[in-house]
Amino acid sequence: MKSKTHTDHSSPARITSRFTGDHYVRDSLAFLGSALAVLALGLLIGENYVFHILILICIWSAVIAGWDLLIGYAGVFNYAQLVFFAVGAYASAMLSVSAGLPAVATIPLAAVIGGIVGALIAIPTARLKGEYVALFTFAVHLALPAVLQQTRGLGTGGSTGVLGLPPISLFGQTFYAINKQAWFVMALIVAVLCIYLIYFVALRSRFGLALLAMRDAPAFSEALGVNGRRHQIFAFAISAAITGFAGAFYAHYTSVVTPRILGTEFFLMAMVMLAIGGMGRFPGALLGVVVVILGNEFLRSFDSYRLIVLGLIVILSVIALPEELGGFLKNRMRKRRA
């Protein structure tokens, strides 16, 4: 049995062996149902500004779901998540602008490249323990803008980035960024696929169980034959591929990629989404995305004070709500039931 567990995980293709956890069908239906509700709500309102905000929520949901897989479920303090996002965005940008490939081809390719980069970062990371994981991955994040600056000759465009990404063409139709409704539908499909893949396929499989076991009892699970290193690298690859996919999609939506996506503002926002929502408790992280995106839009009226206010909100919310929104809601519900 022990050796079987081991071989079962030797190839990613066999992951879908068994789904675990209670209420698998019920939870899946609830998730798909709420996705349909968002779709209906968006189409009903039909306003371009609302579409734009929903698109942002969809894209960030995919990124945060990928991050949650690593930080919340695998327990790996990876701070290089936006590196994967940037790699996906840049890969798709360079393939479509420099090599002239259509967006439909470059976005999946970007996911593959993102996954490879994720695995490459995971190989040294898997050797590290504790805070060194956080330090190393964050060093990668911080160094990437300098690398992009220096690889201008390869088509990264240095600090100006890559401009003029082509829109997505599908079934003989071209969706320009002005067509917010079509982009909203596509973004929602992307987000649903990514989130489903992470929370309902990867995490509910034996692979997901192994990740939880590695997080909660590393020595014991190793003794039972779980290959922690391989699982960790694979978790990085999945997370990075999905995040890279989201990054590529985002790049084609905005039609530009600049090193700004690695700036502190984005990092802070992503981190706050995860922190407010709660790590490792689906759907907490996704709630965090909604709260932060809506909050950020609301703060736009503060203009030049926006970043100060954002910083203050982060400080105050962390001090006041250290148990995260997900935990907070859970406690409230438990109290109500009791």
Partner: protein, 289 residues
């Protein structure tokens, strides 16, 4: 570029990196906080000194420098008591501390931008001119900079090794529980460590102002460098940070001279990766984890 230039550049940069990185390492060693506002506090030092010189009181460089240090120390103590201490009660406080300091960096950075505007400010060097060493001209200010940086580092080391407060910092960083049990006021030590750290980084911000100027977002680059130095040197080891600062500064000087200035950060990262692969706890790291 000749070898003398590389040596001079490596020494000056190394001395300054030492000051910034030791501040970061000190706080990490004692209170396990990765202070993301370290770079913003570096900038804050420069702005306070600039304000004391040109904004209001019109002090001289030396007086402004000396007056800024206690202000910075106070800032550190207040930040520790007000922002970090409330977090410690919760199990995942380390992540919360990272977020709080990141938020703080935003507040400081944008606050400075609102107060002083986005334009860079400059503090003129207090000594002009240069001397020639083996055919290379070195500005006197850079030499003064090296001496002042080394002075700060030596003072810190003496403080840590000789005084009661310094020894309590060392005790806390070695064994928090044990230190608390023998009656060391741990919270006061945390405050002291962050205060000293802010003094060090702020002092570096003032000393480097004549060379790099002061701008609201100018703190990220020194923070990034200090960060790599601290990881490279080994967490919790100020000596390791010192050693790493000079090694990386000389590496930077060589890379700048041979490949180009933009390549220093990628080169640092490669070295960091190799070191972590061979020795996962850094050069002189004390924690296995």
């Amino acid at each position: 570029m000749n070898i003398v230039e590389i040596l001079i550049s490596g020494t000056t940069q190394g001395a300054v990196y030492c000051v910034i990185a030791m501040g970061l390492s000190l706080v990490y060693g004692t209170s396990r906080i990765l202070n993301f506002a370290h770079g913003a506090l570096y900038t804050l030092g420069g702005y306070i000194a600039w304000y004391l010189m040109y904004g209001g009181p019109g002090l001289s460089f030396g007086l402004a420098f000396l007056a800024t240090l206690p202000i910075l120390f106070g800032v550190g103590v207040v930040l520790e008591a007000g922002l970090i201490r409330p977090l410690r009660r919760h199990p995942n406080w380390q992540i919360n501390a990272i977020m709080v300091t990141l938020g703080l960096a935003f507040v400081i950075e944008n606050g400075l931008q609102l107060l002083f505007g986005p334009k860079t400010k400059t503090i003129p060097a207090f000594i002009e001119g240069g001397i020639s060493i083996a055919g290379t001209t070195v500005s006197l200010y850079k030499i003064a900079l090296v001496f002042m940086s080394i002075l700060l580092v030596v003072l810190l080391e003496l403080f840590l090794a000789r005084t009661r407060a310094g020894k309590s910092i060392q005790a806390v960083s070695q064994d928090l529980q044990g230190a608390a049990q023998v009656g060391i006021n741990v919270n006061r030590v945390f405050g002291l460590a962050l205060g000293l750290s802010v003094v060090l980084t702020g002092a570096a911000g003032i000393l480097l102002a004549p060379i790099f100027q002061i701008s609201p977002i100018g703190g990220w680059s020194p923070f990034l460098k200090a960060f790599v130095i601290v990881v490279f040197g080994g967490l919790g080891s100020t000596r390791g940070a010192m050693l790493a600062a000079f090694i990386l500064a000389f590496l930077e000087a060589v890379v700048v001279a041979t490949v180009g200035p933009g390549w220093s950060m990628p080169a640092w990262l490669i070295v960091l990766m190799v070191v972590l692969m061979i020795r996962p706890k850094g050069l002189l790291g004390v924690w296995e984890n």
